[in-house]
Symmetry: D2
Subunit: 279 residues, 4 copies
């Protein structure tokens, strides 16, 4: 008996649940949990289920794909033992990367991080000590070389999705398009407020009473992609812009870890400008 | 086309999803959303779905019940237009009752409150003005008479579930058993802390930094039933026991409203000492 | 022995605390609590203290004012028994007004609301039943007449501050200037995000995972004034724009009540574009 | 000009603020911020202020102590540049220790951790790499030897306060008494709920919807001391006891870091069974 995560996304229409569940039942599978939602703006049906089945993986996949072909759906099936491979891009700030490595090395977050790519050398030691390859590639003359490394790494390491853990560079529209729905950024603000640079200086001058962080998919506009997770914390007049920055780091870590965990467990569906994120 | 909420609870075993979804598909129904969870402690399968179908309600129900009979499941199907009837029991505190009436009269909470029963006269005016019948029944010689009124009201008004909105009396074990899974209480503390009387005095003497409230099913022990929703708020050394009591009222209102909303939309499943509450 | 709230705001410089506290000590006053903060952007010293003294109010005030004259400070002293008078402006939405009246009539919020002014008749019954005068004044040809009523009411009822409880009209720059630091608005969004109209439609299309509300002072730009209190709540893909609007109402009520309570207890200091809000 | 943190705790009585502030004014000091609170249960006056003064530290201290002697107060004055020394006791769990070191090495938390003492070897490498001495001392035959090391370390390293970062052993009543008000523990539950062992198993069986953590002073009873900071996070029926444990680790880290930061900045006052914690 092996357990699998099954994800399906297709245009909504009658009969999807019936077709999926009779197919699974026909394979002798037992559905352990099940979430489905019909996203109204894009008319997209999103379905996630966990099932167990006593059948070879190839056979099961082949039969599933054949049976569900009429739906024209995006389907993914993953053995729960098989942990996703994640490429992390960073710059100099280490708090999100350190947190992701802490969680993976302590078996708190079921992902592999085989490789980290940065435009600086700063985080090499920590990455390598944590068991990841590290590539530093200058972006002083543009991000072309670095993005070539990203493409190469995705192939070499069979990468499932990419995380920008305070990467601080703009992703090219081409790479953004290639990684549609597989590229997650952490933004150090509670979007859509304070989109631009120096959000803490802005927040401090504005005297806000709460600050936040947002994990989102990257689209053409770095800070405007579909939101995956958000978090906030309270601040007061006693907090300087520097204090807010520190408090934000705690939120960024948690919000990004939540988003990566949701991605890794197949709970995130990208539907146009929005996401469906199952609990 | 009418929309229905479908709830199913039964012992977990293979084929439940398949049987339900093929049956619905056979009726021409379209599943709009779907949540299912296999509760491990009690091995209970909990399933909630919303579907639309173009069929008379009686026919649909008859066919569903026949087809799903082999599951030996508790099943309920409700037209989403048909709002649940709720009996509210109160004593003298009005904040939860006022809040529930505000939400129902402003179409924020899809329930009917046809009747309020209390051991005092205090809340008659507000209840009657809000369109509910009001019965006051003294409990100075025990709750037997009042509970007889409750049983009568449940029959007369076709009550779906009962809410203790700061009722302050102990429910008899008999009535508790009769209303198993249909009797919701709001407790002015973050259970399991501060179970007994005067929780705010206790909390203040203990110098806690957060207080909370808990909505739960009533079982034999008033404050110990399965938890449905919980909420907290911050307090500090500046808050007296009386201040905490005021802050608690805001949390009680919200936590109870959340629980009632979840009950009314068929999202709450009682499984032994625990609940499954879908989002 | 009477208790007083003392507020002082002046340009920061050495000796303020010493002068205030020796003056109070000289009057035989006992300081019960004390908060002070030097706001760095505007170099403003904000001080709030609660003291008790056995002296006639006039004598105490006269001596305080004379002694503290060298500071050139804005000073206010209020007997804690003497509750502030608040004018509330509304339109058609009742949730904030109903909540404020609930709290005042249940002695949860120590303010008087002698009068409510609106551009519609809708909330007359509830206001009058709660003991307030109600003036409806059409704004279909501009807010001039209504604002004249506001000025009149402020004089007649010795109003301490004004609350816009979903008033939905733009305050004229003149009235805004007259009421500088005494005019509080509740905005149904987590500023600075979603400033314009229809914030929930915007939030829904954007797929945000949290929504919020902001109480702020009104300045020339309605939605841009210094922030007093903020709150948030979680939403998900399951929430429609209408669901978000309902959830927001709960936050708006709480955030506005917190701001009004802070105002009423002299904890809010306006310093340029920011506020200092003591706990 | 140097900046100082000044803390005072004494029996409440008239004239405290006046004496302190005139004394400081006499020294030419400028008060930058100021918080004071009269704790009613114990009738204790707690005062914290930050001032700057252009005077040698010894002279300033001598004059302050002489002038304030009549108050019979506990007084501490600390140059803000002079960071407190903290001894951390651990066992095998590393999440709180790793977090404290991350914050200190990144200048996010202004403390020194010169030494870590444990009953196991597990955290030696991380501690030593972070610049701390590490002493492992078995507790299989009681904690006497380890507590002797603690006493020695407190002397050798001029320790200001001690943190139990998941130490898992009972502190002897003697050491508890010696370190009264200087010994902080993190408890992996939202006290006063779930005091005993295996709180997550208890919480899971009870089906709670929120879990929390509590930082508190240690008194005779390990889990019952005065609370300093608390935090919570949401859980659902989908979370196993193991999931709750993981979620709790995030809260424990944050709640302990908040408590240590408050301790390090002189904001925590122990008053009988309660604390006063200024913001």
């Amino acid at each position: 008996m092996s357990q699998y995560l099954f994800n399906l996304k297709c245009e909504d229409r009658p009969g999807i649940v019936a077709l999926v569940s009779t197919t699974l039942h026909g394979l002798g599978a037992n559905v352990l949990s099940n979430s489905a939602f019909s996203e109204p703006v894009t008319s997209t049906y999103c379905m996630r289920l966990r099932f167990e089945v006593d059948l070879s993986e190839e056979k099961m996949l082949a039969q599933l794909q054949e049976a569900l072909q009429p739906l024209g759906a995006e389907i993914s099936v993953r053995n729960v033992e098989q942990v996703p491979n994640v490429l992390v891009l960073v710059s100099k700030h280490d708090h999100c990367l350190v947190d992701l490595f802490y969680r993976t090395t302590h078996n708190e977050l079921a992902i592999n991080i085989p490789i980290v790519i940065s435009n600086h050398e700063d985080l090499r030691e920590h990455s390598e000590k944590s068991g990841a390859e590290y590539i530093a590639c200058s972006t002083s003359h543009g991000t072309e070389d670095l993005e070539a490394q990203v493409r190469q790494a995705i192939q070499n390491h069979n990468i499932d999705f990419v995380v920008l853990a305070r990467y601080m560079q703009i992703i090219s529209p081409e790479l953004g398009a290639e990684l549609n729905g597989r590229l997650v950024n952490i933004h150090h603000s509670f979007l859509p407020g304070f989109k631009g640079a120096a959000p803490f200086q802005q927040a401090w001058e504005r005297g806000v009473k709460m600050i936040g962080a947002t994990a989102h998919f990257v689209t053409e506009s770095l800070d405007e992609g579909p939101i995956i997770t958000q978090g906030v914390t309270s601040v007061s007049h006693r907090d300087s812009a520097a204090d807010m920055k520190l408090k934000s780091k705690d939120i960024e870590r948690l919000v990004l870890a939540d988003a990566v965990k949701a991605m890794a467990s197949g709970k995130v569906f990208l539907c146009g400008a929005k996401t469906v994120v199952f609990d």
